[in-house]
């Protein structure tokens, strides 16, 4: 049997952490784009968007992420798309993230005073001009702290991708445990690594929030 030193465990976990970071970025960026689309559909009052997006958000916020992962994994296979764990995890986490971000951002847009909408309308600005020059910049300022805060949820959410066989930090931890029989040390290292990824983001989000509050 190969002997794993503490450094070997740490080194291998560190390599696996790349995939956690990669998957988080995919989910965060993809989810942001989809979430923005849903938000704009809602704000532009497209027919059915109000109801549709609200249901979408409720379904994703009211069901376990693990189930969403399973459904994507088996659902894509069912329609005949050959899915790797990468694709399934990426799609599921993107949808999950989009539901939360679109709801967070909706709150931020509605925090912009109503008079701003009316003023834009009285200046005969169209929807896209209003969004780009008036509402967007103001909502963006409000949106940054909670959006950064949600990134922590996304990073933690990627841990569930291990269950459908995506090899990231948690899955690597399980594999190393099976090789070393040292679950205590390995999972402590895994937890530590997640902490090192998430804590700076949480702290940064809190700092942004504080400075935002001071500014108001």
């Amino acid at each position: 049997m190969v002997d794993f030193s503490l450094w070997d465990i740490f080194r291998n976990l560190l390599l696996a952490a790349r995939w956690t970071v990669g998957l988080s970025l995919i989910a965060f960026i993809g989810g942001g784009l989809v979430g923005l689309g849903l938000l704009l559909a809602r704000l532009a009052k497209l027919p059915g968007a109000q109801h549709g997006v609200a249901t979408y958000v409720q379904v994703f916020q009211g069901t376990p992420l693990l189930m969403q992962l399973f459904l994507t994994y088996f659902g894509l296979a069912l329609v005949g798309i050959n899915v790797s764990a990468w694709v399934a995890a990426g799609v599921a986490l993107t949808l999950y993230t989009s539901a939360f971000l679109t709801e967070i951002w909706r709150g931020c847009v509605s925090a912009v005073p109503k008079g701003q909408w009316e003023a834009s309308e009285s200046l005969a600005l169209g929807f896209s001009e209003t969004m780009r020059h008036v509402i967007g910049p103001q909502a963006l300022r409000i949106a940054i702290p909670p959006t950064v805060g949600f990134l922590v949820q996304v990073i933690k959410g990627t841990a569930l991708a291990s269950v459908i066989g995506f090899i990231e930090l948690t899955k690597a931890g399980t594999m190393i445990t099976n090789a070393t029989f040292r679950p205590f040390t390995v999972y402590a290292c895994v937890a530590l690594m997640y902490f090192m990824l998430c804590w700076p983001v949480s702290a940064y989000s809190r700092k942004l929030e504080r400075s935002f509050r001071r500014g108001h």
Partner: protein, 225 residues
Amino acid sequence: MIQLDFIAVLEQWPALLRGAGFTLGLSAAAAVVGVSVGVACGWARALGPAWLQRVVGVYVELIRNTPFIVQLFFIYFGLPSLGLKLSPELASIIAMVVNLGAYAAEIARAGIEGTPRGQFEAARSLALTEWQVITRVVLPPALARVWPAMVSQIVIVMLGSAVCGQISAQELSYAANLIQSRNFRAFEAYIIATAIYLLLAIGVRQFLNWAGPRWIFGRVAQSGR
């Protein structure tokens, strides 16, 4: 053409029902203990001595910045090497309590810190004991203020308990997995389990919104803040 066969899954309704009951049981136990732990920690963090505030702060940050599944695996797989062997159910409840406790601590702290100073002073000037000040004067309105956030967090932990099937705690997602291993209807089994989770989430939220003012911070909330 895709053939979906929900009947094959629904025929196994006793397993689904047992799983849903199990999920509710785990969540109820975790909610009661976890919110209690959270309130105690929130109190310590808002008003405790400096060293205690720091200890609780470390606990809260550690838990909030690591995934639940890792916490669960650490407790279930890691602790036995220290001689602490746990059943999957007990490990699940402990993990859920530890997790909920950290989030509830921050929520409770926000509620407690929102209490006006005058209320403490008034209560003490009436010669109430410290315990009475906590339980009769400060906590009821503090909990009433943050109850919606607390309810959301309890629902999040309940949904998170789907992961506990991974250590073979026999909750709802475990039941779905069992069913799909019998009839190979994976997609249908998980669709139905997901729908049940959605119903549970809606039901639990409504129940807690109803129960909070009645049983937990009742009389005070009605008489105003």
